[in-house]
């Protein structure tokens, strides 16, 4: 347990560092980004908004950096990430309304491809040296195709030409978001192609990784012992797979950490809502409060995922618990 707590302390420190950098950066920016921003908004700006924007960047309040810093941290602790300039609503509201699209699509995609890819990897590792090895070059090819290319091709063929799937968006535009079967069915229907593209592009990576680990693990003595013990083929395979899967599980946790940044391409190509789309728009409109909010979100998912990977390893591999046992 002490190992985990120590890791947690390190992550806490990293989080604090990120928050501090996030606080300092806009205050070090040359020129006057505020006037630029206000100019961009072309009169649709109220005096309160200007005040809010200035406060965001620590101007016009005549406060010391330290007071501002304490204030900033205090705001963060209350979940206040400032006001989005372009959307005129609190960044925390914007993010919490959009994050579920990203989690739902990218997160589910990562988990689905992990399970399918790992299962295939176990099988192909087990049958190594047989004709099933022919699948490896195909998998390597699939793995090396850039995502934006794969996604665009899928849209061109299956949505634009064959009309099997909707072209873009997350649900039928004629519906409004609500808890109804029609709406949920529409969301699922619109999610099929983007989800397929994510699974296709990351499946091969999981599969090849797991296959290689399987082959390595199967040459271990304890697998030969499992055979010598007269265990069934399935059980022997399980002995090997359970050990071989450890690096993949850690990788899965880390992949989930890249959820937000990874969503960028998918959401752009499929014109899907979510944090990735938000990020692109925020960059385009120089919406600094929103950008800062997204960066914090990215940092925290990466940190959270790293901690999750540590915790999973701790649970799955008794050898990492040695320090706690003695």
């Amino acid at each position: 347990m002490r190992t985990l707590l120590r890791r947690f302390a390190i992550y806490l420190f990293t989080a604090w560092t990120t928050i501090t950098v996030n606080f300092i950066l806009p205050r070090l920016m040359p020129g006057d980004p505020i006037q630029q921003l206000i100019g961009k908004l072309q009169g649709r700006v109220t005096p309160e908004m200007i005040k809010a924007i200035k406060a965001q960047f620590g101007q016009g309040l005549n406060q010391s950096m330290w007071t501002q810093y304490v204030h900033y941290i205090n705001q963060l602790l209350h979940g206040d990430l400032g006001i989005s300039i372009t959307l005129s609503s609190p960044v925390s509201d914007v993010l919490s309304s959009q994050i579920w699209w990203t989690v739902g699509l990218i997160g589910v995609g990562a988990v689905v491809s992990f399970f399918i890819g790992t299962a295939l990897g176990v099988l192909f590792g087990w049958t190594r040296g047989s004709r099933a090895d022919a699948v490896i070059p195909a998998a390597t090819f699939l793995q090396s195709v850039p995502y934006y290319f794969l996604g665009t091709i899928l849209i061109m063929i299956f949505a634009a030409t064959l009309h099997w799937f909707p072209l873009m968006g997350a649900y039928d535009p004629s519906l409004s978001p609500e808890w109804s079967w029609t709406y949920i069915a529409s969301v699922l229907r619109y999610g099929e192609l983007p989800l397929t593209s994510i699974v296709l592009s990351s499946l091969a990576g999981w599969m090849l990784g797991m296959r290689n680990m399987m082959v390595t693990t199967m040459s271990e003595d304890f697998v030969l012992m499992a055979v010598a013990k007269g265990l069934s083929r399935r059980r022997v395979m399980w002995h090997a797979a359970r050990n071989a899967v450890l690096p993949s599980v850690a990788n899965l946790a880390l992949t989930i950490g890249l959820l937000v940044s990874g969503s960028l391409l998918v959401e752009q190509i499929f014109n899907y809502p979510g944090v990735g789309n938000l990020l692109v728009n925020a960059v385009g409109n120089e919406d600094y409060p929103l950008l800062q909010g997204i960066f914090l979100l990215i940092t925290f998912t990466v940190l959270g995922a790293n901690f999750l990977a540590d915790a999973l390893y701790y649970v799955l591999d008794p050898r990492t618990r040695t320090a706690a046992v003695h």
């Binding site: 012992m225 055979v227 591999d317 040695t322 003695h326």
Partner: protein, 356 residues
């Protein structure tokens, strides 16, 4: 096996193993024949690469690719409910093999740390073999049996809750031995079980094995390169070189009076436990490349007594009429032009049937 051989557990004849296929094949075990009686201990000695491990993994059909059994017959006599039956191990199907694995033949590997699943508690290892082979045992019964087995090798029952990496090397190897005895097999194979341990632990484990075998009566094939260890445990010792048996004799005879120059060299590579200090000479050179074995006797490039015949003709393993010994060496051939050197002709203080 004929009916007169009911005291035999295992009978092996003309057994050969190749690594690789067709032209690429390298013969790692050549023409090995031996039989093992009930409750007997057979020691197999030889350098690394002499084929001793390949031999036992081949016999038990545990060879990994590209190991291929290229010739031979291996017959195992079954015990318990199938008493009286025999099984041809080389012809047996996967299912037939699975049924006799661990219940009739179990194995202890050199590195217990690698042989135990790192993610399983010791208790789970016992639970698994007991459950898979005897569905009638309840969970508490399996646990009780596991504790019994640990007690057999002098370990506390709380070890069942431990993971392999939490035990010492000696404890792990004891766990492996207890595990090998879990289903009361009639044949246990131990592949250098003590090599990775310190000398004191080695001795302890060997003497425990000796007692266990007396009590439980399993037959044992014990592989090592340490002849002095074997002599305490084995009834008979087989010395292997380049995949062949070069000498086979009752343990003490072989130890006191080796007949093959290689056996002598092997013995001189280990300090004796008692007596005067002698210089360790070892064996000059290294084992032959099995891809291009030397003509004649494979030991001839390293042998101090090699003569013309050794360079051209392979000596057969033959009984030299000396207390049940067989030696594959032209020196002991009646037609040999050379006098057998003193070091290889000491009288063996043979007692019939081997010595403890």
């Amino acid at each position: 096996m004929s009916s007169s051989d009911t005291h035999l557990v295992l009978q092996v004849s003309n057994f050969s193993v190749d690594y690789g296929y067709a032209d690429e094949a390298v013969r790692a075990v050549t023409d090995v024949s031996f039989s093992l009686g009930r409750s007997r201990v057979l020691g197999v000695a030889g350098e690394s690469g002499s084929g001793k491990s390949t031999l036992v993994y081949g016999l038990t059909r545990l060879l990994r690719a590209p190991g291929v059994i290229s010739a031979g017959d291996v017959t195992l006599r079954l015990s318990g409910a199938r008493e009286g039956e025999t099984i041809d191990l080389l012809a047996a199907s996967e299912d037939e093999l699975r049924a006799i694995r661990w219940s009739e033949i179990s194995i202890v590997m050199q590195s217990a740390l690698n042989a135990l699943n790192p993610l399983h508690k010791i208790g789970k290892e016992f639970d698994e073999v007991l459950r898979v082979h005897d569905a009638s045992l309840s969970k508490p019964q399996r646990r009780e049996r596991a504790e019994e087995l640990l007690a057999l090798v002098g370990l506390q029952p709380d070890r069942l809750q431990r993971y392999p990496h939490e035990l010492s090397g000696g404890q792990r190897q004891r766990v492996m031995i207890a595990l090998a005895l879990a289903l009361r097999p009639q044949l246990v194979i131990m592949d250098e079980p003590t090599t990775a341990l310190d000398v004191v632990t080695q001795r302890e484990i060997v003497s425990e094995l000796h007692d266990l075998r007396e009590r439980l009566g399993f037959a044992l094939i014990f592989i090592t390169h340490d002849l002095s260890l074997l002599v305490e445990l084995a009834d008979e010792i087989m010395v292997m070189y380049a995949g062949r048996i070069v000498e086979r004799a009752p343990a003490l005879d072989l130890y006191r009076a080796p007949r093959h120059p290689y056996t002598l060299g092997l013995m001189e590579s280990f300090p004796p436990l008692t007596g005067e200090r002698v210089a360790m000479t070892g064996i000059p050179g290294s084992p032959p490349n099995l891809k291009t074995p030397p003509a004649g006797c494979p030991f001839n490039p390293r042998c101090a007594h090699a003569h013309d015949r050794c360079l051209s003709e392979m000596p057969p393993l033959s009984d030299i009429g000396d207390g049940g010994r067989s030696v594959a060496c032209w020196l002991h051939d009646p037609a040999s032009p050379l006098e057998v050197p003193v070091s290889l002709s000491r009288p063996g203080e043979s007692t019939p049937g081997g010595v403890k």
